[in-house]
Symmetry: C2
Subunit: 598 residues, 2 copies
Amino acid sequence: MPDYKAPLRDMRFVLDDLLDAENHYAALQGRTEFDNETRDAIINEAAKLAENVLSPINQSGDAEGCKFVDGNVTTPTGFADAFKAYAEGGWAGMVATEEVGGQNLPASAGILVNELLGSANWAWNMYTGLTFGAVKCINEHGNDSQREVYVSKMVEGIWTGTMCITEAHCGSDVGQARTKAEPQEDGSYKISGAKHFVTGGDHDMAENIVHLTLARIVGAPEGTAGISLFIVPKFMPDSEGNPGERNPVFAGSIEKKMGIKGSSTCVMNFDGATGFIVGGENTGLQQMFTMMNEARLGTGLQGLCMAQLAYQGSLAYAKDRLAMRSLTGVKNPDGPADPIIVHPDVRRMLLTQKAFTEGFRAFLYELSFDGDKINNGATEEIQKAAGDRMALLTPIAKAFCTELGFESSNLGLQIFGGHGYVHEWGMEQIVRDCRISMVYEGTTGIQALDLIGRKVLGSGGELLRNYTKEIYKFCKANEADEALKEQVEQLLALNTQWGELTMEIGGKAENLDEIGAASVDFLMFGGYVAMAYTWLRMSKVAQEKLAEGTTEEAFYSAKVKTADFYFKRLLPRAQAHAQSALGGADCLMDMDEDQFAF
Amino acid sequence: MPDYKAPLRDMRFVLDDLLDAENHYAALQGRTEFDNETRDAIINEAAKLAENVLSPINQSGDAEGCKFVDGNVTTPTGFADAFKAYAEGGWAGMVATEEVGGQNLPASAGILVNELLGSANWAWNMYTGLTFGAVKCINEHGNDSQREVYVSKMVEGIWTGTMCITEAHCGSDVGQARTKAEPQEDGSYKISGAKHFVTGGDHDMAENIVHLTLARIVGAPEGTAGISLFIVPKFMPDSEGNPGERNPVFAGSIEKKMGIKGSSTCVMNFDGATGFIVGGENTGLQQMFTMMNEARLGTGLQGLCMAQLAYQGSLAYAKDRLAMRSLTGVKNPDGPADPIIVHPDVRRMLLTQKAFTEGFRAFLYELSFDGDKINNGATEEIQKAAGDRMALLTPIAKAFCTELGFESSNLGLQIFGGHGYVHEWGMEQIVRDCRISMVYEGTTGIQALDLIGRKVLGSGGELLRNYTKEIYKFCKANEADEALKEQVEQLLALNTQWGELTMEIGGKAENLDEIGAASVDFLMFGGYVAMAYTWLRMSKVAQEKLAEGTTEEAFYSAKVKTADFYFKRLLPRAQAHAQSALGGADCLMDMDEDQFAF
């Protein structure tokens, strides 16, 4: 496993050079005052936790995995201690409001920490991610007493949270859920049923676990309209708020998974467990949905984390490993062969990883700034614009970054050759850990339907038009710039094409299968365009720095070169997706079910 | 793990409808007479072994893995018994010559059996694949006594063979090998050194193991010109030819791998082990190379096998799993939701798997017919043409089929959603097992250099011209056909583009980095064109059958529809690769090594 090094320089480039974070922070309302200095102090501390505590237990955590013994889950060696260090560092309360004991920092600050901890050890970091979700959900939809009892403990980092959504027979199709809630005289409910794929459903790192659980109140309507949300604690809080009586919600087993083995994935059996409703009856799904943008952004972040970690490993290896001579002459005359970084195709793989890693980082950080503005922007107009932008781009962030994070992880393995395939070097673990990212929090297919259906066509095209206008304005403002001109023209053409593609697909929407048929390619096309827009702005900023004169010429010129690589070698894929998206539904739907036979 | 079902119908379609196997077999010289009837009897028997013996121990073999205890490797439960059944069935001698006890059937018949056994259990099948390689190598380059002692036992299926090539510090770059051979007075050699990644280096399935080992005779030239090939038996054959004294070649450890866990991958330590030279001194690499086309074709086959197995699993699941309603109205009114095969994007994934699986099958079988003709074609002209065709297409078969076999395996997991990520269903195992295929027997990058460097430019373009002429002739012969016209035009344009792309890249060959920079995209482009040519011929044949009238209308019309899907939804990727290939070397090589830093 590569020793993870926090990419602090690049983080600051994105935050300060590209996104002007200082002004962004200053403009937010209703958050603790925040500035670059505080932020840098935070990421420096988080980097230490990531590098010194979490990275060293990443590979061992995979080898050891979670264990299920006598109905209890134990996490790998070191996980519980790391969680203690995390709680003591106050990380669990960073973005929570002050009234529940949090520091009330901007949500985007949480993403930075999340990247650092998640790159170092994604499996471990999942426990904290789910807990953040539970905090946010109860905070927004729960009552004061629930906030006081449950949220404050999670913010302290001594309890954790889960989401109990999926059942064996239904994943994305939550409306099929059968878990039952029976009202009790005291206002609580008895919850019965079984939930699958519950991340952190049981473990040995916290005193108590707060299960946010979707269930159907007896007599409620069928489908999604009859789903309510409940708090089901592992231990009932006593009058002091400490863990008391055991509530009958038990882990029945843990899944044996391809990867993220240090993260416990449980079947949770609710045997008439006591639950407390959050918000109103039958509104559970909407309440879960309020967390969805952040959860999906957080999963998109996994694509960045895995791509980054794989890149760190393969870059070091490519400089070190000697094989063959460069085709253009010996580069390492004192050695038996040249380091493989001299070979063009190895560089193609490294630059692909680099372009996606740094492109994702910029794209996701910018999106997290939108996230800040949704609640804390200075005006309603800013809030709405940010909300619209985030709504449009979240499915792209989730699906595009994970699909290509997986490609980047695989390139990391590939650069190692046969050594990449064995556990020892840790490269294959990154591939295994990354693979789930295209599945959970809504598969790539689900994201694609969300994008084209709900976001683009559902808004009558408005959300997309806002974004393509933003790109258009940028292009127009820079089309006279000789150094950017060629790439601006490419981006402008693609931007126009995005609108045309939407019109063409939307024009066939009378047959809704046309939407589904085009959806994934449409999303991927959009992802490549958004990434081009992101890279071009980074290139522009870097060129400005170079023109001003800088002591970091190598760093900034690398940005310009990587942008060039992206436009020449990766962006052409956008056309393949556009063409494929226009392939239409007939070639999918005309096939009778029996004809799929082999 | 999906219960593997041998795709006998589709195999016969490719062999008989597309490739006219009966006439192909009849025209071969110097092989045991062979016809479709015999072949069908063989594949029916092999299907039973695959379905009933090997498939049931595929998932358990992964879970159990190979074990290394006290210096010996044990294979998973059932592996040794399966090998006994395989030996007793006479499978080990199918394609070997009669003088060593084989049946001397065409090599292409071996590929059919290989597909069946390999799809059912790739990890198990690797032991046989390496043994075939050892048989072929000693048969061609060894002396009579070596054939008698070693080959006959492997052909009987009671000994197995390995290739000991890689060392820890050198994989593809074999010239760096340090393993040493000291000549002895009796004409034998003492071999000392360590070889890594030796498949089947030790196991408990056979009486003896024949290690074909590359080593450098003391005083031989450096680099590849000083490498010789040796037979190093685990047990020295006694005067009766039975395993006698233990030769000091020992497994030092087994690798813990991402997948193919039932296949033992050993570090082999040669502690002055006795070896016998095969062929002349310092010609070891050429001798290994004679096996390479077949070994690479065999690895390309893994792409087919994994894609097929994943498709079988995900197709069954897609028909069974109920989630959401079809966007165009309820399709399963009696159930709580529709089966997911109604959703266009699920069909896109299934059809991608189907198009690649069946396309690979046709492409690889045709290539195996070329392989038959190289040695057994009726005239020298036929032999040469087949050899040229195979030389050109083998790197495509290896790299393209494994890259997209991996994509297809991943789509299989994806269709299962969260269930695909857990061991239980076996879908993630297919992804893990498949992942090595892009690495061993020469990575995708190595194949790509072989294609563009040695095969295309190295032949002054001749090998490629022969193939594009073949495609051109087909297109011209069918351009008037209304039903095929549109796709013929597409193929014709791509075929022309292939030549132009080659000229353009070749024109920059003064800087050899340009070749490396374009290589992988050039290979992938060629793969998509070759696949289009293959699918278009399948569509034509199927349309003829439909026109003639057939009782299997569903089967044949599925071929036409899948071809249509391929042209509309997958072939557009060719343009992305062409564009990227033209992106040039500068955007790769201009980056200083330090600038890759993050």
